[in-house]
């Protein structure tokens, strides 16, 4: 602790005799940072794989049976024997673990009994629709949150409290309920959008809003708080003292500061969107990873469940790295040598 305190002190060190730190363009440090992120991500994925391995082996009952689709699927002796051979289940646990890891590294996620095809194939079939849904929702959530903040932060007490009240409400809406309301109103009563499936964009609107609104509520709350504190900072007063208008300081100065914490939340938001995708895909009868996962869980199809969970972990790790890079773009302070 003393270390960090004193390190902070060095940073502000400012004697007149010290030559200015040369502003080395720190591309190397940036690459190093990304590399560090990637190594960290690999460690996390290894941990995730280990955890799922433990999950199967801690489960009550015979691992071979769970790989074969659970007790309910009544696997035959020959199927079990094949599985025992494939996963090396007759060998010591450590060997089983290594076989498991090596299978994963070769992209072999096992065979899904409920879908009657390799897990990797199930995932390949389902990854597209889910990516469409979650990425669309993430963009929509950001647009909603930023526009809402720009319009309602510090606009007098009434508008501001309506703004923040709606954000809290939006953040508390469970996706299943919000989806039902949207379905009820826009599909069954007004008939504007299809209730299930639907082609292209038309069918994507309701699921996207269902997913995006609660996330927008969260992002909006964080953005609002940052926005408010940014608008109170001296650099805003300075900008106004140079003759800048209210909209000018909002767009040119405060907005960038306000979205920063939200950007760090984007990794989490993506995870939350994937959670939400399980519900939304089920509700709107869409194909996707969420539905595949739900099927894996309800049918006790362990290879499918674990396969999807691991893919989500990969997505999360990649997203975290991307967010870190994005953050450096939005906040130039991290790119500079001084920090």
């Amino acid at each position: 602790m003393t270390q960090s305190a004193a390190a902070g002190q060095i940073l502000v060190e400012d004697g007149p005799d010290i030559p200015e730190p040369a502003a080395v363009p720190s591309r190397r440090r940036r690459v190093g940072r990304v590399l560090q992120d990637v190594i960290g991500g690999v460690i996390v994925l290894w941990g995730a794989a280990t955890l799922t391995f433990l999950a199967v082996h801690l489960m009550p009952g015979n691992p071979a049976v769970s790989y074969a689709g659970g007790v309910a699927s009544h696997p035959s002796k020959s199927v079990l024997a094949a599985i025992i051979k494939e996963y090396g289940l007759d060998r010591p646990v450590i060997v089983q673990y290594l076989v498991y890891l090596s299978n994963l590294l070769h992209g072999n996620l096992g065979y899904s009994v409920s879908e009657q095809m390799p897990v990797s194939q199930v995932i390949a079939l389902n990854v597209g629709p889910t990516a469409e849904l979650t990425l669309g929702s993430l963009v929509l959530a950001w647009v909603l949150a930023v526009v809402w903040s720009l319009l309602t932060v510090r606009r007098g007490r009434i508008i501001s409290s309506i703004g923040s009240g709606l954000e809290v409400l939006a953040a508390s809406l469970p996706q299943y309920w919000l989806g039902i309301i949207l379905l009820e109103v826009f599909a069954f009563h007004l008939g504007i959008f299809p209730a299930t499936g639907g082609s292209g964009l038309q069918g994507l609107v309701l699921p996207c809003f269902t997913l995006a609104i609660p996330i927008a509520g969260f992002l909006g709350q964080v953005t609002r708080e940052e926005f408010e504190s940014a608008l109170e900072q001296p650099y805003i007063t300075s900008a106004k003292a140079r003759g800048m208008s209210d909209w000018g300081v909002r767009l040119r100065h405060a907005l960038r500061h306000a979205v920063l914490p939200g950007v760090t939340l984007s990794g989490w938001a993506l995870g939350s969107l994937i959670s939400g995708a399980v519900i939304v895909e089920s509700l709107f009868s869409r194909n996707g990873l969420g539905n595949a996962l739900l099927q894996g869980v309800t049918q006790q199809d362990m290879p499918l469940t674990i396969g999807v969970v691991l893919i989500v972990a990969v997505v999360y790790v990649v997203a975290t790295i991307l967010v870190d890079i994005l953050y450096q773009v939005v906040d130039p302070r991290l790119r500079s040598a001084g920090q």
């Binding site: 809290v168 039902i180 309301i181 939340l265």
Partner: protein, 302 residues
């Protein structure tokens, strides 16, 4: 989850502002509004009162038994005799919602308790156990974070099967990493606080500093965290029930009621709307009260 982190940041922001205000005697402290009863807080307390009565004396407000079927009046819309309408077997939805409070709230509270208990152990071990323990636990939490919480819960359900018991543990495990990270941060912040150093300079032994300063201050946000968490747990638990992985119909549990109503989604909106609205109201009340509590604690304690 980052919302916890976000709360943490909010906590720090508020603290900074209050200390900044404090340094300028010319500015009147703006504590009044936070301490007063805003309409939102009044509403939140009303929801709590409704829930307490539903849990303790459901018979006072519910006119019918939650499982009493009335085949003559299935799928009736909301009316004066059936405030929230009736379901496919003619059961009164309002009565079911009232009676359901007991189970749904128990699940939420129990799941929050499970999550916090795991988190306290991990958070304190990481915060106080030295560099090695901190590294291992932080990495472990990172691994857990790579599974979104609903997925973590689903994985648990996949392992141990559906049901109320495994639902509670699943939601608890799903929420634990977020709490744990928050508690770890708080423990480290308190451990490094100048007042802990001041106690060290006074010559107090480590155990005394731990008991008098570190532990009570590190536990301070737990009440707020728990209050905020109950709302979230209820929402998650009902989501799992909605997916058919929790309490089974026809039990009067909110999530299970939602699951059962899905078959009538295009014809009987009230089957989905009212149980969901009660869940949202409960979650909102928990959030509002949690924040209110947070502001009050900070106002008093800086």
């Amino acid at each position: 989850m980052p919302p916890a982190e976000q709360r943490n940041n909010a906590l720090m922001t508020v603290t900074n502002v209050s200390s900044a205000i404090d340094q300028q005697p010319g500015i009147v402290r703006l504590g009044g509004r936070a301490r007063g009863l805003s309409p939102g807080i009044v509403l939140a307390w009303l929801v709590v009162a409704f829930l307490v009565i539903s849990v303790a004396w459901p018979g006072l407000i519910a006119r019918e038994a939650p499982l009493a079927v009335d085949p003559a009046h299935p799928l009736q819309g909301p009316s004066l005799s059936h405030l929230f309408g009736t379901d496919q077997s003619g059961r009164d939805v309002f009565s079911r919602v009232v009676y359901g409070a007991r189970e749904s709230l128990s699940i939420g509270v129990a799941a929050t308790g499970v999550g916090l208990a795991i988190a306290i152990v991990l958070g304190f071990a990481a915060g106080l156990g030295g560099r090695w323990a901190d590294t291992v636990i932080s990495r472990f939490l990172e691994v857990l974070f790579s599974f979104p919480s609903l997925l973590l819960a689903l994985l648990f359900v996949a392992m141990f099967g559906a049901g109320v018991g495994s639902l509670i543990i699943a939601v608890g495990i799903g929420s634990a990493p977020g709490y744990a990270r928050m508690i770890r941060g708080q423990v480290i912040a308190v451990r490094n606080a100048p007042y802990v150093e001041a106690a060290k300079v006074l010559g107090h032994p480590p155990l005394r500093i731990m008991a008098n300063s570190i532990f009570p201050n590190a536990m301070r946000p737990l009440l707020v965290l728990g209050t905020l968490g109950i709302g979230q747990s209820i929402v998650w638990a009902s989501a799992l029930s909605f997916l058919g992985l929790g309490a089974a119909p026809p039990a009067p549990e909110w999530g299970a009621m939602l699951a059962a109503g899905r078959d009538f989604i295009s014809s009987a909106w009230w089957l989905e709307f009212f149980p969901g609205a009660v869940i949202v109201a409960t979650a909102l009340a928990a959030t509002a009260l949690g924040r209110h509590l947070q502001r009050r604690l900070e106002g008093r304690l800086a």
